[in-house]
């Protein structure tokens, strides 16, 4: 169960860059009628300045809860119990007072969610909503705030922004609403953007536009992005590093190219096999289903579904996330997997 934070620290030292956000041994549990539900069970990662970290996982893997916990958006205990360390630009986020956290959220870290309609207020024009964010964080006049809103709409490439600025959210398409959400997120020039399934509800052509916009923002403003998605294809479009989550933990993390070329965790291999690509006659589906986190058996949580499982090693203790080679981590007793072939 114990992670190896020093490995990740080594990797950060190797690239000789101070991480913008660094998360160590994050744990989140929810109090339920059936007992404590461990949604996130010890997650550690770094996000470097200007880097995009992709977090991929299926439903219930804990990827969204991780992002909510980072932003302090989970209900206070006894609802959710959050443990671990989250450092952002030298500050310990877990020790900030609520008003300090509120100030930081929006101005330095911003977040974009899957369903933009529920995040926008239907009773105000989008111009008002963007200007409100500007005025909350900066002491400027209403006129300047409106001018900033217009600039932001141009920046997220909304067509005819001077006309759109006075429209209500319901008049906009899903793709445009998501652009407005990104404009709001960018209002205070944050250093980091957390995007939780930002394109999942959108059509593929619009999804491509939004991903292109995120890539441009990362490139031009040097913004760090944490992109959370269930779709490995979407993640591969912009992520530099990819972390694969399963049952509340990161089971593999590597540079994007490395992960697709030489994955070292059986779950990643199964996921890649389950995606239809040209030339596959049959999809390599993973048998069974995700384990119930309320009653996790000892050993590797993926073992019951794993074709490489060895009862004597895999069922005894949960394998820690270890470096297979520099910047490539896998939580598998049998890694590197070349030895099982």
């Amino acid at each position: 169960m114990n992670l190896q934070p020093q490995d990740l620290a080594d990797a950060a030292a190797a690239t000789a860059e101070e991480p913008l956000m660094s998360v160590r041994d994050l744990r989140v549990s929810f109090a339920t009628e059936d007992g404590l539900f461990p949604a996130v069970r010890g997650v550690s990662f770094d996000v470097l300045p200007g880097q995009c970290l992709g977090i991929v996982g299926e439903s219930g893997s804990g990827k969204s809860v991780t992002s909510l916990a980072l932003m302090g958006l989970l209900p206070p205990p006894p609802g959710a119990i959050v443990e671990g360390n989250v450092h952002f630009a030298g500050r310990d986020l877990r020790k900030l007072r609520p008003e300090e956290m509120r100030k930081l959220c929006g101005s330095e870290i911003a977040m974009v969610f899957q369903e933009p309609m529920t995040s926008l207020n239907p009773a105000f024009t989008i111009g008002d909503q963007i200007a409100e964010v500007v005025r909350t964080h900066e002491n400027v006049s209403a006129r300047i705030a409106r001018a900033r809103a217009l600039e932001l709409l141009q920046e997220v490439q909304i067509a005819a922004p001077e006309r759109r600025i006075d429209e209500y959210p319901h008049r906009l398409s899903g793709g445009m609403r998501q652009r407005v959400m990104i404009a709001i997120a960018l209002a205070c020039r944050p250093r980091m953007l957390i995007a939780d399934e930002p394109t999942t509800a959108l059509d593929v052509t619009v999804q491509a536009q939004i991903l292109e916009l995120l890539r441009m923002l990362q490139g031009e403003h040097g913004m760090s992005i944490m992109l959370i998605s269930h779709n490995l294809g979407v993640i591969s479009e912009i992520a530099d590093d990819i972390a694969v989550m399963y049952a509340g933990r990161i089971v593999e993390q590597a540079r994007a190219a490395r992960l697709f070329e030489k994955p070292e965790h059986p779950y990643t291999i199964g996921l890649l096999g389950a995606i239809p690509t040209r030339g596959k006659s049959r999809l390599a589906s993973i048998k069974g289903r995700v384990p119930d986190l309320l009653s996790l058996p000892p050993g590797c949580p993926f073992a019951p579904r794993c074709p490489f499982m060895l009862p004597e090693t895999c069922l005894r203790a949960e394998p820690p996330l270890l470096a297979i080679r520099p910047q490539h981590y896998s939580a598998c007793c049998r890694a590197p997997l070349d030895q099982v072939l």
Binding site: L232, F260, E261, A274, S285
Partner: protein, 367 residues
């Protein structure tokens, strides 16, 4: 049975208009959800209908199922005209056409056990009663990879993937010839989606089924379909064999869709076209070719004259300029796999997960 030349299911010039009328408006607005579509599905064949939201692909599926009435056009099943049949007269045909939905939970009665749902269905279609029906339910559940004991459970006790299996069992219960799959695997997690895709392929071979596979997911379509029809705002813009559509697409919209499919790959494409703007409001579709405002190849003629489907020798395409488009490079990138390592590792997953049970095959062979 039909002979080999008549397609199993055939639609001709199918039109469905929805009249919209706001509570305060006198003007009548019309949405041309399906705007003159002709297609056919052969025996044991999978025809995929792809397109983005609002293109009318689900309306098309519902029309073919006769869940909604077409405004005009004909539907034929095994050469027999369905369009003029109503109510009870449709029952024998409903047995031959079944449907699987995106959200099986919405189509299962929460107060009925799986057993009750399925035995009801068998009774209504006069297939089996009493203990024979119970036996058949057990067989059906095992065919779709669920234990026979799950018959006593209620829909809410199942996971999303298991519910979709129940939806498939229900469609199979009446020995259909064709199943309309409306985004049947879209809401599922990748690993579950792969299980259901494999199951659909297994039962297609086992029972000789045809599929009309409605989906927005081009990767799944490429994997499943024999032929593909691409829709845009109520019209088919291109149709042909799957390999032709994916390797030599002629329509700019098909190309744009293929360009933006996110593929998990090592290298990133740089030369792709990302379409500008959104899909137009179907209430006020653009003049001429519906696609012209977003089309990088549009000329004046495209805004005036709507192109009709014409033969390219390999398929049909509705574009004035299909002959002049630049050559297409099939650049769909594959994850790099040095020495076939990944493939060999994935083969272990396949070996671990053999094809579904085939023991029910004999029970259904007598169709």
């Amino acid at each position: 049975m039909s002979n080999s030349t008549t397609p199993l299911l055939e639609a001709k010039d199918l039109v469905k208009n929805f009249n919209l009328r706001g509570p305060f408006s006198r003007s009548k607005q019309v949405i041309h959800a399906v705007d003159g579509i002709s297609l056919h599905v052969n025996e044991r064949e999978t025809l995929a209908v792809v397109g983005e939201s609002g293109c009318g692909k689900s309306t098309l599926g519902r029309l073919l199922m006769r869940l909604i009435e077409p405004t005009s056009g004909n539907i034929r099943l095994e050469g027999e005209e369905l369009t003029d049949k109503q109510g009870r007269a449709l029952l024998p045909y409903r047995r031959k056409l079944q449907m699987i939905f995106q959200d099986p939970y919405g189509s299962l009665n929460p107060r009925m056990t799986v057993q009750e749902t399925l035995t009801d269905l068998l009774r209504i279609h006069g297939i089996a009663w009493g203990s024979a029906a119970k036996l058949r339910v057990g067989e059906l559940l095992e065919t779709v990879g669920l234990p026979a004991s799950s018959a006593k459970r209620y829909p809410h006790e199942f996971s999303g993937g298991q519910r979709q299996r129940i939806g498939i069992a229900r469609a199979l219960a009446v020995n259909p010839l064709l199943i309309v799959c409306d985004e049947a695997v879209s809401a599922l997690d990748v690993s579950v989606q792969a299980q259901i895709v494999n199951l659909l392929q297994d039962i297609q071979v086992e029972f000789g089924l045809s599929y009309l596979f409605i989906s927005h997911d081009l990767m799944v379509v490429r994997h499943m379909a024999d032929r593909v029809a691409v829709m845009y705002l109520g019209r088919v813009v291109e149709t042909g064999e799957t390999e032709v559509i994916f390797e030599r697409p002629r329509h700019p919209y098909t190309r744009a869709l293929l360009d933006v499919v996110p593929v998990p790959s090592v290298t990133r494409r740089t030369d792709r076209t990302v379409l500008k703007g959104d899909i137009p409001n179907p209430l006020t579709p653009p003049s001429g070719c519906h696609f012209h405002p977003r089309c990088p190849f549009a000329i004046e003629r495209c805004a005036v004259e709507a192109p009709t489907l014409q033969s390219t020798g390999e398929g049909l395409v509705a574009c004035h300029r299909w002959r002049e488009l630049p050559a297409w490079r099939d650049t769909a990138l594959q994850p790099g796999d040095a020495g076939g390592r990944l493939e060999r590792l994935q083969a272990r997953f396949l070996a671990d997960n053999p094809t579904q049970t085939r023991r029910v095959a004999t029970a259904n062979a007598t169709r």
